[in-house]
Amino acid sequence: MTSVAATAHGAQAHHDDRSFVRKYIFSTDHKIIGIQFLFVSLFFLLVGGLLAMQMRWQLGFPGKPMPGGGVLPETMAPGGVILPEYYIQLVTMHGTFMVFFAIMPLLVGVFANFLIPLKIGTHDMAFPRINMWSFWTFLIGGLVMLSSLFVPDGAARAGWTMYAPLSARHDYSGASIGQELWSVSIIFVGLSSILGSLNYITTIINNRAPGMTWFRLPLSVWSLFITAILGLLALPVLSGAAIMLLFDQIIGTHFFDPAAGGQALLWQHLFWFFGHPEVYILILPAMGMVSDIIANGSRKPIFGYHSMVFAIVAIAFLGWIVWGHHMFVSGMNPTLGSSFMVSTLVIAVPSAVKTFNWMGTMWRGNLRFHVPMLHAVAFVAMFVIGGLSGIFMAATPVDMQIHDTYFIVAHLHYVLFGGSLFALFGAITYWYPKMFGRLMSEPWGKVHFWLTFIFYNCTFFPMHITGMAGEMRRLYDPNQYTFLQPWQPMRVFISISAFLLFATQLIFFVNFWWSLWKGQKAPQNPWEDNGLEWSLPSPAPHGNWEKVPTVYRGPYEFSSPQVAEDYLPQYKKLPTDREPARVPLAGH
């Protein structure tokens, strides 16, 4: 950007003459875009939850009319009783909304946008307008997917993995517009993620504040950086696959149509080549933010910072060569199965390293249990179960028994709900003051945490057991099989726990909205943390700093012998610190 534009940018930080529309709707401020992502993806999280409740009703009380089911159209749930075709729409849409429109935008859309410029000390993203477009393409994708719920013959119904040829031909699935809208919406999500990722990567590489060297970056920024690279390289493959699926659905091409030479397995290869980096996109930011919160809560530097960074990088690289473990029994070449098994088992090692490092951080710490710390510790506890249950599937012979059963459903919910969503509850509470200038209620936060923790485990742990018994996934009514009938009481128990879990989220919902206006006013550094963002007033002003801060040390100097207090912010200059050498500066 020419120097003329730059001074204007500097001036902008002083006074704000932008109109309401430019300031809040079509805003190019990374913080406002982060908050826009937050509101939209929390809404989609609610939609995903509602779909899950309907599924749990059908599984817990098959054939009985669902309370409130009258609102559903007769073709889907006559008299409130859910029909099979509606049930597989619920399965598909629950997975799609949660993965693409709730967890991924909450982790990457919200926290990459909000945290990266603040934590590395810069005014805004490298390309503010592209960043704005990333949100709006995401919103268009979300609205297209939401509209596909209301089209006449119903939404897509081939599972969130959309296996061809069931997804490619409407005479097999029974839905035409719904399936096509799914593909169109996924193309928008892909485009939105690519625009976002290229922004985060350029900003982190070129716009770090003086003194913020690579190994002084907080682990949340490291994980968001590696996640951006995964997103950048994985989402185009999904968009390409969705385009080919859309052409199969509309123009009649034969990519995945075996009758005319296409290959059904090709879709699975394309989808899971994107799919596995995707599930690391869904967990790495959570790991990074949990590392920040645990270090803060333990008042102790993170244990083994460098090995944590190398673990994130290792997970990212290995993430590209493991996708075949989703296809062990899909008819894929068995020799490929062996190679994917080895790479999958190797990827368990960096996760183990991270878990032990979190525990090392808490060891001999001075643990302070604010709500984010509760969620972070619960993340470690639950993610361990999710990670360990993953090893059962990596062993190929055992996978033959538990593939596509509820054991897999339990595994994915332990890493996605127990992992990412617990980390998100913690992260939202942790950075809420910097976003809105007010604190969320601490007691209500604790009530919500404990109830969620209990009902969450009651809902998802029994799924391991019914999965071991062989209960297949996506069954409208498992009682058709005599060997599954004895597990109906367990399914009722799971459904009731799920309803209670959903009800508990009301507490978070109210706490979130009530604290926006009525919450206790937030001081500048409520958690006494070292990050650069806490050098700004709450809520952080437009353009962040007038003069970019200078960084003198790493992000985790808690209980440092150099100072009396038990935290030492990165931006605080001690007499012994020397100014970082100002090297010729990269782009702006």
Partner: protein, 223 residues
């Protein structure tokens, strides 16, 4: 209620259940280590006034230990799993004397073709039965899986056998039943609105019961 893996009714249950138990023990130890460690740390290192955390940036020796132990365990697990995987699913894992049965999956039913008296598929005396899989006990059975429309999945929990049936591909899987009885064959890959009721009955019979049934079923089919 049978809290463990389903009834053991095929030769696969030995390796698969054994491996399942081994992994459960390994992960169980890791689970207890981590969870008890977490609870102990949460209680022992609670914040107390005037106390300052131990200022350390890590310990490479500890890092090396908890990197190599999981790595070694995983490699061992990988070798054992691969050994059984090649036996169960490998390219030439199907025993030569396996008894062929053709299974054609279509949206929401299984059409099972029996080789008839000559024991060979594709000969004149084959006959097809819907949703009924009769299998002689104690002999390796080779199922030739084909699908007419979408991806289904051949899954009998008691035999620990699962193999996706992909349209456009002829996939062979094998198993050997050991315990006579009636079980159920389910479809474990979402194949449309009738996925949940795509169920067939599996009868494991002694050899002569099987021959008797086959003779009788062949006549019925020929009328």
């Amino acid at each position: 209620m049978h809290w463990w893996l389903p009834l053991k009714a095929s030769t696969f249950t030995g390796p698969i259940d054994g491996l399942f138990l081994a992994i459960l023990i390994i992960t169980g130890i890791a689970f207890v280590l981590v969870e008890v460690g977490l609870i102990w740390f949460v209680v022992k290192y609670r914040q107390r006034p005037g106390r300052k955390a131990f200022y350390t940036h890590g310990n490479t020796r500890a890092e090396v230990i908890w990197t190599t132990i999981p790595a070694v365990t995983m490699v061992a697990l990988g070798l054992v799993s691969n050994h059984y995987w090649v036996q169960i699913k490998g390219r030439n894992s199907i025993p030569p004397n396996a008894y062929p049965i053709g299974i054609h999956a279509k949206q929401f039913e299984w059409q099972i073709t029996y080789p008839g008296a000559d024991g060979k598929l594709g000969t004149g005396d084959d006959f097809t039965v819907r949703n009924q899989l009769h299998v002689p006990v104690g002999r390796p059975i080779m199922v030739q899986l084909s699908s007419e429309d979408v991806i289904h999945s051949f899954y009998v929990p008691q035999f620990r056998v699962r193999q996706d049936v992909v349209p456009g591909m002829d996939i062979k899987a094998w198993f050997q039943a050991t315990v006579p009885g009636t079980y159920e064959l389910g479809c474990s890959q979402l194949c449309g609105l009738g996925h949940y009721r795509m169920r067939a009955q599996v009868f494991v019979q002694t050899q002569d019961d099987y021959d008797a049934w086959m003779k009788q079923a062949a006549q019925e089919a020929s009328q």
